[in-house]
C-alpha cells in the first residue's frame, strides 16, 4: 500500500491532465479528420482516414500574411517594452522609498486596464493625431502600454536577485552609472530579461482587441483577426478552422514548453510580490 500510493496519484494526475487538455487534443484530431468525418455523430475520437490539409489551409487563408503581421506586432511590442521597461525595472529595484512606491503603484494600476475598454479612447486619439495611417505601429504602441507594466514588475524581480555588490564594485572601479547598468547589471540579469521578453512576445502574438479595432486594411490584419473572420456566422468548415488554429498555436506551445519552468517561476514571483 505504501509503495503503491505515489503511482495511484500519478495515474490520477494523468487523468486530470488528459481531461484538461482534451480541447487541445480535439483541435488536433479535428484538424486531421476528413470533412465528412467531422460531421459524423457520434463523433470519432481518432481520425479514421487522417487528412493532411495544413498546407492547403495555410495557402488558402493567406496565413503567411496574417502570421507575418502578428509576428511584426509581437516583435515590435517586445522590442519597445524591453527598450522602455528594462531601465525602469532596474531603477525601481535599486531604491525602496516613497517615490519608487508611488511609481510601482502607478505601474500596477495601469496593468489592470482592460484593453477592450481602453481601445475606445485609443482609437479616437490615434485617429485624431493620424496614427491610424500606420495601423500596425498603432497596435504596437497600444499593446506596449498594455504589457509594459507586467514587463517592469517581472523584470524588477529579476534585478532584485542580482547582488548589488557587483554593481558597487564596478562603480568603485570607475564605471559610470550607465556603464555599470549596461555592462554589469544587464548581462547578469540577461536570462530573466529574456524569459520575461518571451512571455511578452507570446502574449502579443495572440493579441486580438487592438488589432481588430485599430487595423482597417485586411492585408495588415493579424492571425487572430484572420481566424475570427474564418469563423464567420455561416461557416461550417470546422476542419479548416481547427487546422488554422493548430498551425497558429503549435509554435506558441513549443516555445512555451521549452521555457515553461522559467516562465512560471518568473510569473509567480511577480504576481505575488
Amino acid at each position: 500500500m505504501r509503495t503503491a500510493k505515489p503511482f495511484i496519484l500519478l495515474g490520477l494526475a494523468l487523468v486530470f491532465a488528459a481531461i484538461y487538455l482534451f480541447p487541445l487534443y480535439w483541435m488536433y484530431v479535428t484538424a486531421l479528420k476528413s470533412s465528412t468525418e467531422i460531421f459524423r455523430f457520434p463523433p470519432s475520437f481518432w481520425p479514421s482516414d487522417p487528412q493532411w490539409q495544413f498546407g492547403r489551409i495555410f495557402a488558402e487563408h493567406a496565413m503567411d500574411r496574417y502570421l507575418w503581421n502578428s509576428l511584426l506586432i509581437a516583435v515590435g511590442t517586445t522590442a519597445l517594452a524591453t527598450l522602455v521597461g528594462t531601465g525602469a525595472a532596474y531603477a525601481l529595484s535599486r531604491h525602496r522609498n516613497a517615490w519608487t512606491a508611488v511609481a510601482l503603484f502607478l505601474v500596477l494600476m495601469l496593468q489592470v486596464l482592460p484593453p477592450s475598454l481602453m481601445v475606445t479612447p485609443i482609437f479616437v486619439a490615434f485617429n485624431q493625431v493620424g496614427l491610424l495611417e500606420t495601423p500596425r505601429a498603432a497596435v504596437v504602441l497600444a499593446q506596449t502600454a498594455k504589457v509594459l507594466p507586467l514587463y517592469i514588475v517581472l523584470c524588477r524581480s529579476t534585478f532584485l536577485q542580482v547582488p548589488r555588490e557587483l554593481e558597487d564594485a564596478a562603480r568603485v572601479d570607475g564605471a559610470s552609472r550607465i556603464g555599470a547598468f549596461l555592462r554589469i547589471m544587464i548581462p547578469l540579469a540577461r536570462n530573466g530579461i529574456l524569459v520575461v521578453s518571451v512571455l511578452i512576445f507570446l502574449q502579443s502574438f495572440g493579441e486580438y482587441v487592438y488589432s481588430r479595432s485599430l487595423i482597417a486594411a485586411e492585408t495588415l490584419q493579424t492571425a487572430t483577426v484572420g481566424l475570427s473572420s474564418f469563423m464567420g456566422p455561416n461557416t461550417n468548415d470546422w476542419g479548416g478552422i481547427m487546422t488554422y488554429a493548430a498551425i497558429y498555436v503549435t509554435p506558441i506551445l513549443v516555445v512555451f514548453a521549452l521555457l515553461q519552468r522559467r516562465i512560471v517561476s518568473g510569473l509567480t514571483a511577480g504576481a505575488l510580490k
Partner: protein, 348 residues
C-alpha cells in the same frame, strides 16, 4: 592585497571598463563611489562641473531618467486614454464629431442614456454572474488541483506544468476550439453528455439564450484554472511542513489540517488570487468575441464587450465611453485593494 587592488582599479579607470571583471572579482570592500572623487579622470572632472550632467551620469538622476521614460510612456499611452475616456463620456461623440477636437458637451446625459437602455440591466446582471461563477469555479478547481499536486509523486511538477498550455494560448483560439466543442448538432460535449445520460437531448449551447452565458463561463473557467492553480501552488509551498507534521502527531485528520492550517495561512494568497481573478475576468473579451459575440440578443453579453460593441459596431462612442469609465473605475478599485493588501502584508 589592498595596494594591488587600488592600483588595479586605477588602471581600470584609464582603460575601458571590462565587463567580465566584477564577475570574477570578489565584492568590493569599499563603500560605493564618492571616495574616488579626487582621482577623477580629466573628462569626468569636466563633466562634474555641470551638476545636472553629473547626477545623470553618476547619481540618482540616472534612475530618475530611467523611471521617467517608462512612466512617461504609460502616462501618454495608458493614463491619457484613461482621462480621455472620461472626457468623451461627457461629450457627444459619434461618427461626425470623431475627428473634431471641439465636441458638444453632454454632461451626465450620456450616463442617463446608457442606464435607461433596455439591455443595460441584463448586461449588468450577466457581468456579475460571469465574474462570480468564473471565479468561484476557477478558484475551487484550481485550489483542488494545487492541493493534489502538492502531494509527492513522480512527475508532479511536470504534469502540473502541462496545465499551463491552456493559459499561454491566445484566448481567441481557445474560443474557436470551444465553439466547436459546444456545437449543437455535431459537438463533442453534447455527445459526451447524452451518452452519459446527463442530459435528455442536445443542448444548443451557443444559440439558446438560457445557456449561452454559461457556455462562455465554462470556457472562461477552463482558461483561468492554470493561473489560479499555479499561484495557489506557490502559496501552498510557502506553508512550513512541520506545521502539518505537528498537527498529524496531535491526531488531526486531513480535513481538520486543511481547515485549521491550510485555509488560515492561505488567506492572503486566496485574497490576491480572487482580486487578480476579478481583474482578468473583467478583461475577457476574445472568448466572447469567438463564442457568442454577446448573443443571442445580449443573453451572453457582458459590460466590457458591450462597451466595445457600442464604440466599434454602432459608433456610439460616448455610450461606449460611459461603460468603459464605470468598468475601469471598478477594476482600479479592485486593483487598489489588492495592492494595498499585499503591501500591508510586506510591512508586517
Amino acid at each position: 592585497m589592498t595596494s594591488t587592488r587600488t592600483s588595479q582599479s586605477m588602471t581600470d579607470r584609464s582603460v575601458n571598463f571590462q565587463p567580465a571583471a566584477p564577475a570574477v572579482r570578489a565584492p568590493s570592500p569599499y563603500p560605493p563611489a564618492g571616495g574616488g572623487g579626487t582621482r577623477e579622470a580629466p573628462s569626468r572632472r569636466a563633466l562634474a562641473r555641470i551638476p545636472l550632467l553629473r547626477t545623470l551620469r553618476d547619481g540618482s538622476g540616472f534612475d530618475v531618467v530611467l523611471v521617467l521614460c517608462a512612466v512617461g510612456y504609460l502616462l501618454v499611452f495608458a493614463a491619457f486614454p484613461l482621462a480621455y475616456t472620461l472626457v468623451m463620456s461627457l461629450q457627444q461623440v459619434d461618427m461626425f464629431s470623431l475627428a473634431s477636437f471641439d465636441r458638444p458637451f453632454a454632461g451626465l446625459d450620456n450616463y442617463r442614456d446608457v442606464f435607461s437602455r433596455p439591455e443595460a440591466l441584463q448586461i449588468l446582471k450577466n457581468t456579475v454572474i460571469f465574474v462570480v461563477l468564473s471565479i468561484t469555479f476557477q478558484l475551487s478547481i484550481g485550489f483542488g488541483l494545487a492541493l493534489f499536486f502538492q502531494q509527492p509523486f513522480p512527475g508532479a511538477t511536470y504534469i502540473r506544468g502541462v496545465f499551463l498550455a491552456g493559459w499561454i494560448m491566445p484566448a481567441l483560439v481557445v474560443g474557436a476550439i470551444w465553439k466547436w466543442i459546444f456545437a449543437g448538432d455535431f459537438g463533442v460535449l453534447n455527445y459526451l453528455l447524452t451518452s452519459l445520460h446527463l442530459t435528455g437531448g442536445k443542448i444548443f449551447w451557443l444559440s439558446d439564450p438560457d445557456v449561452a452565458l454559461f457556455a462562455v463561463i465554462i470556457a472562461n473557467i477552463w482558461l483561468g484554472i492554470p493561473f489560479n492553480m499555479i499561484l495557489l501552488s506557490v502559496g501552498l509551498a510557502a506553508i512550513p511542513r512541520d506545521l502539518y507534521e505537528a498537527a498529524e502527531i496531535d491526531g488531526a485528520r486531513a480535513f481538520r489540517r486543511f481547515r485549521h492550517i491550510t485555509l488560515p495561512l492561505m488567506r492572503s494568497t486566496l485574497g490576491a488570487v480572487v482580486a487578480l481573478g476579478i481583474i482578468f475576468t473583467l478583461q475577457q473579451f476574445d472568448l466572447i468575441a469567438a463564442l457568442t459575440q454577446g448573443g443571442p440578443a445580449n443573453a451572453s453579453n457582458v459590460a466590457q464587450y458591450w462597451s466595445w460593441q457600442m464604440s466599434f459596431q454602432t459608433y456610439e462612442i460616448s455610450a461606449g465611453s460611459v461603460v468603459a469609465v464605470l468598468m475601469i473605475a471598478l477594476v482600479i478599485l479592485v486593483a487598489a485593494l489588492y495592492v494595498r493588501s499585499t503591501e500591508r502584508e510586506h510591512a508586517a
